[in-house]
Each structure stands twice: as C-alpha cells, then as structure tokens.
C-alpha cells in the first residue's frame, strides 16, 4: 500500500513538474528552447577550442571534451532541477509549506519533480551529441557503443546526482537568493575536479586526490568508455601516458568505485538534507520568502 502511494506520488509530482516546465508555451517553442540552450552551452567550449587550435576538430581530445561537456548537462541541469524545486515552491509559488505538511514522502515529491528535468535534459544531451557527430565529426560509432555499460552507469550516475541535488536542496532551505549560485557552484566543482572537459591529470596533485573521491569522476570515465571506446583508446595511445589517470582500471573496477563513492555521497547528502531541514524548521524558514 505504501509503495503504491509512493508510486502514485512520484507520478503526480512528475506530472506537476512536466506541466510547470512545459505548459507555458506551445510544443514547438518548448522544443526550440530545449535545443538552443544546450547547443549554445556546448558552442562556447567549441569556439574556445577552435580559437586556439585554428579549426582542427578531427582528433581524440576534441571528442573527449565534447562528449564530457554534453554529459555534464546531466550534472548541471539535474542538480539545478532538484534544488530549484525548493526555491521555486517556497519563494515564487509559496506552496512549499502546503507540500511540506502534506501526508506524503517529501523525498519522493522532490524526485518526482526532478524526474522530468532528467527527461528534458536527456533530450538536450542527445541533440548535442547528434550535433557533434553530424556537424563536428565527434568520434561516436553507434555500433561500438557498450550499451550495457552505458545503461548501468547512467542509472547509477543519475541517481547519485539526484541525491546530491537533495543535499543542495536542503542547503537552499537556509539561504535566500543563492539557490542558483549553489547549483552552479557545486556543478562547477564537478566541472573542474571530475575530468569533464579535460583530463584530471592536468590538475595539481592535491586536486587530483579530491577528484578520486568524487563519483562524477568515475561516472564520466565509465560513460565515455561506453560511448566512445575508440576515442579513449586513441587518446591514451597518442598521449603516451595515462592521460586520464584511470587508464589502468577496468570497467568493472570503475563501476565498483562509482557505486562506492555514490554510496558515500548518498549517506552524506541525506545527512545534510536532514540537518538543514531541522535547522529550517527551528528557524521558521520553511515558508520563508525574501523577494529583495
């Protein structure tokens, strides 16, 4: 019975999330909006690359960077989506207090609202990858993709990112207008430390140590190996050294490390959310609005 209620809640909150995301306009404009934003974000990096290299995109590093940047959308958008639920419901629609006291599982509500963000982001990632392959020669061969590894790593990675978003949602209980900064900032930490657009071996050694505690580092590596195995092999061969810092690890090892680090972050995130939630209740911040 409880499971059925939770599933119904998940479905209802996902539907609410979809309506809030999409029913403000017609499907064409919504689709355009969903495409333009990720493509533009990717083009920033592409132009940075082109300005320095003078237009050479047919190499392994470009594909490495491009795919990492596309996958990073999941990190940025899903983190943003989870945290924004708290901010949006509280500051803008002033409905958080009603949701909060409703007899339901608050975590499920947040994940339901975020699920639609994952779906929309997946669309953006696919469009971006397609654009890369068709227009820029990014080295993805659909016949060589390791679908099993891709599916497993995506499932674990996305769950992990949602859990991290929950922790940030807890923090945004206690802050006013910083919700955007929190999301972008934490996503930025992963952008730098997790080898999203450059190998972690370029970082200082202390930063590389931090990188190896972050689940996103392993997630990026394993998803890349699943999507573009030839690129990863070519990058290692052309560099002449372990350029990613994880070249000696098997896919299984990477998946295990991903699971372990995700588990640690799961416990930490739940802890952060509960502490922040407790403080928010004591300080009366659950229905706080600032509007300055």
């Amino acid at each position: 019975m409880a499971v059925r209620n939770d599933l119904r809640l998940l479905k209802s909150s996902a539907w609410l999330g979809w309506q809030m995301e999409a029913n403000w306009t017609d499907p064409f404009l919504f689709a355009t909006y969903s495409i333009v934003k990720p493509i533009a974000g990717t083009l920033i990096l592409v132009f940075m690359y082109l300005v320095i290299t003078g237009g050479e995109t047919a190499n392994d590093f470009f594909s490495y960077m491009y795919v990492g940047n596309a996958l990073y959308m999941f990190v940025a958008e899903v983190l943003f989506g989870v945290t924004w639920v708290i901010h949006d419901d509280r500051e803008h629609y002033m409905t958080l207090k009603h949701v909060y006291i409703a007899p339901m599982n608050f975590y499920i509500y947040i994940f339901g609202r975020s699920a639609i963000k994952i779906a929309i982001t997946s669309f953006g990632v696919l469009i971006t990858l397609a654009f890369g392959v068709l227009a820029l020669g990014v080295g993805i061969d659909l016949g060589a993709v390791d679908w099993l590894l891709l599916t497993a790593s995506l499932a674990v990675g996305l769950l992990c990112i949602c859990i991290l978003g929950l922790a940030m949602g807890g923090v945004s209980f206690l802050t006013a207008k910083h919700s955007i900064g929190i999301n972008e900032g934490l996503a930025g930490v992963f952008y730098v430390m997790s080898g999203v657009v450059f190998p972690i071996t370029i970082l200082p050694s202390w930063a590389q140590t931090i990188s190896k505690f972050l689940p996103v580092t392993y997630w990026m590596e394993v998803v890349r190996r699943a999507i573009e195995p030839a690129v990863m092999e070519g990058l290692a061969a052309s560099s002449g050294y372990d350029v990613t810092g994880m070249g000696d690890m098997s896919n299984l090892t990477l998946m295990l490390l991903l699971l372990v680090s995700a588990g640690v972050f799961f416990i930490m995130s739940i802890g952060v959310f509960r502490v922040a939630d407790n403080i928010a209740r004591k300080k009366g911040k659950v229905d706080w609005t600032t509007a300055y």
């Binding site: 403000w24 934003k37 300005v51 629609y93 730098v192 657009v197």
Partner: protein
C-alpha cells in the same frame, strides 16, 4: 511637508536600492555562494585553455568574462524578472499606486543590483587573478572606467526595458531568463574573443552591451587584447553611449505601454498565469 519631484524620485531610488544592499549584508553567505563557487566554472574554462597550451591572456579573458557574467545574471534574474515576480507576490500594484515615477523604482533596483554585483564581480576578479596568476596591464584606467560605466548604464537600461516587457509574460519569464544564459554567454564572447564568431555575428551580438564592453575592457587590460579585438575602443565607447540612450528611452516607453496594457486588460494583478 511637500517635496519636489526630484527629491521624491531620488528617495524612491534610494528606497528601492536599500533592501537589495541590506539584504546582501544580512546574509553574508552570498560571498561563498556568489563569489567562491562560481570560480570553479571559471577554473574549468581556464584549465581547458591551459590544457590546449593557449597564451596566458586567454586565462585572463576567462577570469574577466567570468566576473562579468555576474552582471548578466543580475540583469536576468534581478532586473528583467523582477517586476514579474513583484506582480506574483503582490507588490506591483503598490508600486503603481505610489506617487512616484516607475522609472525611479526600476532605477533603484538597478542601483542596488549594480552595487551588489560590482562587489561580487570585483571579488571574483581578485580571487581569479590570485588563483591563476593573471597579469593585468592597466594602460589607461580612466578609459577603462569610462568603458565600465557606459557598459553598465546601457546594460541596466536594457534590464529596465526587459523588466517592462517581462510583464507581458507569464511563466515564460523564468524560461526566457533561463534561455538567455548560455546562448548569451556564447554570443557575447564571455570566454573567447567575440571576433572569432565572425564580423556579422559579432555585430549582431553587440546589441547586448556586455559584448562591446568586454571587448573594450580586454583591449585595455591585456597587452595583446587589441590583437583579438572586434572594434577599436573609441568606436565601442561611442556605440555603447548610443545604446545607453536607446535602452533608457525604450525602457521608459515600454514601461508606459505595459502599464497601460496591463490596466486595460486587467492583468496587472493577475497571478500564476
């Protein structure tokens, strides 16, 4: 005691700027969230240039561009969207009933936001310079100050215009602001010289004042900035001055039009549409 319209409008500007300035001091955590955390994104782009073995100036471009993103975010989320959110929470009707100019209310928002964001951007530059050993070469600080001031006037004029236009929107306001982040970061060349987009694309992007402002600042701050420039500094200052006037006039016109439209269609107090 009655006061003249000038004093009343100046008091309005001060009154609307006050909560923004006080709000940030009441919540000092903004420094961590708005200055320290965004540095990671800047660091990401800086490391890309470092991995590509780009000239050191490019890392400086990233630090400067990253700091300037704070102004664009402030325009989108605290200027353009503000009247829409004021409507949603019920303040807009109070603003319209107040015996003062609507432009002064928007001006107060701009002043408060500008001061807060300038501190934020300056802190980002300082931390970025220290973290990445960026070397600034200030050949003409007065010209740099002029560029910054005209860029900000034009930019916040644009924000005031957007604030009125956003009143036409419902929940599109949030989505429109969200849409104008990455595409504008790209089109205005926040992280690379805008000239590399091509002359016509750069000219089109120049409608957003940060494009020319950032291009001029790069020329004035970095010794080789002129090599990557789109236009000369003097030309950019002249165009920015024109944009200042155009956006202020359009903001005034848009505000009147939207208020009239809102009153005649009964949408000024309509919420959650």
């Amino acid at each position: 005691m009655s006061e003249g319209p000038l004093m009343r409008n100046l008091r309005t500007i001060r009154g609307r700027a006050y909560p923004r300035l006080i709000g940030s001091t009441r919540e000092p955590s903004w420094f961590f969230f708005d200055v320290v955390l965004p540095l990671f994104t800047i660091a990401g782009y800086a490391y890309v240039y470092r991995f590509l073995e780009a000239d050191a100036e490019f890392i400086g471009y990233v630090v400067l561009g990253g700091a300037m993103t704070a102004f664009w975010l402030n325009i989108l989320w605290s200027m353009a969207s503000q009247l829409y959110w004021e409507k949603e929470i019920g303040n807009l009707s109070l603003y319209l009933m107040a015996p003062t100019s609507r432009m002064s209310i928007l001006g107060g928002m701009a002043v408060g936001g500008l001061v807060e964001t300038t501190i934020q951007a300056a802190a980002t530059v300082v931390v970025g310079v220290i973290a990445f050993d960026v070397i600034f070469s200030l050949g003409s600080p007065v010209t740099l100050l002029v560029v910054f001031v005209v860029t900000m006037i034009a930019l916040y004029g644009m924000g005031m215009m957007f604030a009125s236009l956003y009143l036409l929107l419902g929940r599109e306001a949030y989505h429109l602001s969200s849409l104008m982040m990455e595409p504008v970061y790209f089109a205005t060349g926040f992280y690379f010289p805008v000239r590399s987009l091509g002359r016509w694309a750069a000219a089109g992007a120049s409608i957003i004042p940060i494009t020319l402002g950032l291009d001029a600042m790069r020329q004035l701050i970095f010794p080789v900035g002129a090599d990557d420039a789109f236009l000369s500094v003097n030309t950019e200052i002249a165009v920015l001055c024109v944009l200042c006037v155009v956006f202020m006039v359009l903001a005034r016109y848009a505000l009147r039009y939207m208020e009239h439209l809102g009153k005649t269609t009964g949408r000024l107090t309509l919420r959650w549409q």
